[in-house]
């Protein structure tokens, strides 16, 4: 028993090392590129030791106003996530537990996401012009609810379905309202799931491109829009782009280190389960 356990752990390490390497190698190369001039970046055979330059970082911060785009991305992604999670949890719970609206409603909700966003963004733009929401961060945040909610509902539905019904039933018999039973029992148990959903929602917004492109202006553009603009007519500014990617990843990685324990370890609910 012990032995097989140990053997599997070794296999796990091997698999994880291989995958981590595949994922990490291009990122390391990106970091290298961010410190290189264009000539060095494309040199073959590659030089491994060269005098690093921080010009790329300075340029993207000064010329492209990267901090502002970062702030925009962060504000929009975070607020859209914070709005979506509570209401999507309730809806996901209703779908999972009470089968509200039946399969048809479930599918209608997700079917709204099956149209390419291109055909939605133009009418949305027209509406936004009327309500003066173009080129504003709250406008963009609202538009992100359009895809955040359906996806979150589906993800959370999946997690809620996995929770044994008996737990809330006991609480309901003790006289708790359904909302209370949900908040006190279901919500904490599914914390890893909700956390994962929140992270995904944040990332979906963080990477969203088309809505951001059409609905923002110079002052409200997000990181994907800013990075896309680095494909210029005189070529891709690969050094700057790499610097931008590194600067966009770094804080998120640090942030994820903090919230990781909810995602990886889960919380111990041995007592109730």
């Amino acid at each position: 028993m012990r032995k097989s356990e140990k053997r599997w752990n070794i296999i796990a390490h091997i698999i994880l090392i291989v995958f981590s390497f595949i994922i990490l190698a291009p990122i390391l190369w990106t970091i290298r590129t961010s410190f290189a001039t264009d000539v060095i970046a494309y040199e073959i055979p590659p030089r491994f030791f060269f005098k690093p330059t921080i010009k790329n970082y300075i340029n993207i911060l000064v010329e492209n106003n990267f901090i502002r785009h970062f702030k925009n991305s962060f504000v929009v992604s975070l607020s859209s996530t914070l709005i979506s999670i509570p209401i999507a949890s309730l809806a996901g719970y209703a779908f999972a537990r009470y089968n509200t609206g039946g399969e048809r409603l479930k599918f209608t909700v997700i079917a709204t996401q099956m149209l390419p966003p291109i055909v939605l963004v133009i009418p949305l733009f027209a509406i936004y012009m009327k309500f003066h929401l173009v080129n504003t961060l709250h406008g963009l945040t609202i538009s992100y609810l359009a895809f955040n909610l359906p996806f979150l509902i589906w993800i959370l539905m999946g997690f809620f379905e996995g929770i044994p019904k008996e737990l809330e039933e006991a609480a309901l018999i003790d006289g708790a309202t359904p909302l209370k039973a949900f908040l006190k029992i279901v919500f904490p148990i599914s914390a890893p799931g909700i956390m994962a959903a929140a992270v995904l929602s944040f990332i979906m917004c963080w990477n969203e491109f088309l809505f951001a492109l059409v609905l923002t202006g110079a002052s409200s553009a997000t990181i994907p829009v800013a990075l896309a603009a680095l494909q210029t007519q005189r070529g891709v500014l690969i050094g700057k782009l790499s610097a931008g990617v590194v600067m966009a990843i770094a804080p998120i990685v640090i942030l994820s280190l903090f919230i990781q324990k909810y995602l990886v370890k889960g919380l111990s609910f041995g007592a109730i389960k």
């Binding site: 000539v39 494309y42 027209a126 492109l213 202006g217």
Partner: protein
């Protein structure tokens, strides 16, 4: 802060104080040059200018919804010649004659080819030419002057190696270089760093072959003629160059990928924008700095391209936008832009003494621009480029014969011309 704003307001004697112009720009070198000069305009007029810089392919997606709506966020636009037919045809741009006449703005200084391309549409002036990107041949002077290679060429073909004068000769030279220059230097040197990615890269490059062989997209009655003799011949030569004288990955190359090959010294030549010469001569970007030269497209007629200034019909600040155009296109500023590395559109700048002193090849560029020819400009130019790009790419991958691909393209081109009401 408040007092500062107030102070500026009071100090500013200008008419338009307090207005901010929102300008949508593409990230071309000139954009950054103008950005640097902006304080001068702001000081003179009190109008603040904000550039929003977007990449070319996103620009269209950004502009179309804006231009359709009752009021546009942008007061001034940089419009590519691909859209020089579409935007006026859709009624999105403000005609400029009345401004030009009122302020006696001199448009006679512009090269006629530029005015035709990014100035007039259907006889009305919608744009002021800002920037040119006519294409030509950029080649490696060191390889061209290499005595061994020259001797070999003479031995093979019986005459001195020269800058090619026809498309055939160019393809032959590219093939020659790929074989013998690679041999001599012991590393792969491609004949031509081609950009044959589907979409506008392949169309831009091929257009040079097409025009130089006397072909065109439409005849004067707007009947498609890409599949005539010249069209087929140009596509065959183009594909021959792709097969024998280009990097194997060229079918997925855009300008950037091709530029990297050239700048790393791995290619002999490139059919590209004239201002790429400056990029290739920049040692921080290129290993072949100082070893490249510019010539007209072999066969004489390259693809012309350019951007123009335009004011959206639904702009909120038309007068201020015009004020800006007057400033940025004035001789003084146009000259400054050129001296800082811009791509001029005016005779007097191309031939200005100081400009020529700094960029001796500029008169050559002027001739290039004069004779270059743009793609047809009408409502569906972008669609036309898409169609031709797809069919050429299919022919280049061998999925279709050249003739079949061009016939299919011609069919769709005729459809587009009919849709636009140009072909009866």
């Amino acid at each position: 802060m408040r007092y500062l704003v107030l102070a500026i307001l009071i100090l500013s004697t200008a008419l338009y104080a307090g207005v901010t112009l929102h300008v949508l720009m593409e990230d071309v070198p000139e954009t950054h040059i103008i950005k640097e000069l902006l304080p001068d305009f702001e000081k003179k007029t009190g109008i603040k200018v904000e550039f929003e810089i977007v990449q070319y392919c996103d620009m269209h997606a950004k502009l179309v919804p804006q231009l359709m709506s009752p009021n546009c966020q942008y007061d001034l636009l940089e419009v590519d010649n691909y859209w020089a037919g579409e935007f006026p045809a859709a009624g999105w741009l403000e005609p400029l004659e009345k401004y030009v006449e009122r302020d006696k703005f001199d448009i006679s200084v512009y090269l006629p080819s530029m005015l035709k391309m990014v100035g007039y549409y259907n006889g009305r002036l919608y744009m002021i030419p800002m920037y040119n990107y006519a294409m030509g041949l950029i080649y490696r002077t060191d390889l061209m002057n290499d005595p061994d290679l020259r001797a070999k060429w003479k031995e093979l073909y019986g005459y001195d190696m020269r800058i090619p004068t026809s498309v055939e000769e160019y393809v032959k030279l590219a093939e020659f270089m790929q074989k013998y220059a690679s041999e001599k230097y012991g590393q792969k040197i491609y004949g031509s760093a081609m950009q044959a990615q589907r979409g506008d890269p392949i169309v831009m490059e091929w257009s040079n072959y097409l025009f130089s062989l006397g072909g065109d997209y439409y005849d004067e009655k707007w009947r498609a003629r890409v599949n005539d003799e010249a069209g087929v011949k140009s596509a065959e030569l183009y594909i021959r160059a792709l097969k024998n004288a280009a990097p194997p990955g060229a079918l997925s190359f855009n300008l950037d990928d091709a530029f990297r090959v050239m700048s790393q010294g791995k290619a002999f030549s490139m059919i590209t924008y004239n201002w790429m010469l400056a990029q290739l001569n920049d040692p921080s970007k290129s290993k072949v700095a100082g070893k490249v030269g510019l010539a007209p497209m072999p066969g004489g007629i390259g693809l012309n391209g350019g951007w123009g200034w335009a004011i959206p019909k639904n702009s909120q600040h038309k007068e201020e936008a015009w004020e800006f155009i007057k400033w940025v296109e004035s001789f003084e500023i146009a000259k400054k832009r050129a001296l800082m590395g811009g791509a001029p559109t005016r005779f007097d700048i191309f031939t200005d003494e100081d400009v020529v002193k700094k960029y001796p090849w500029y008169p050559k560029v002027m001739w290039l621009v004069m004779y270059a020819k743009p793609v047809p400009e009408f409502q569906y130019s972008t669609q036309m480029i898409e169609v031709v790009g797809r069919e050429l790419s299919l022919a280049a991958t061998g999925k279709k014969s050249v003739k079949k691909a061009l016939d299919d393209a011609a069919k769709e081109l005729n459809k587009l011309a009919k849709m636009a009401g140009l072909q009866k």
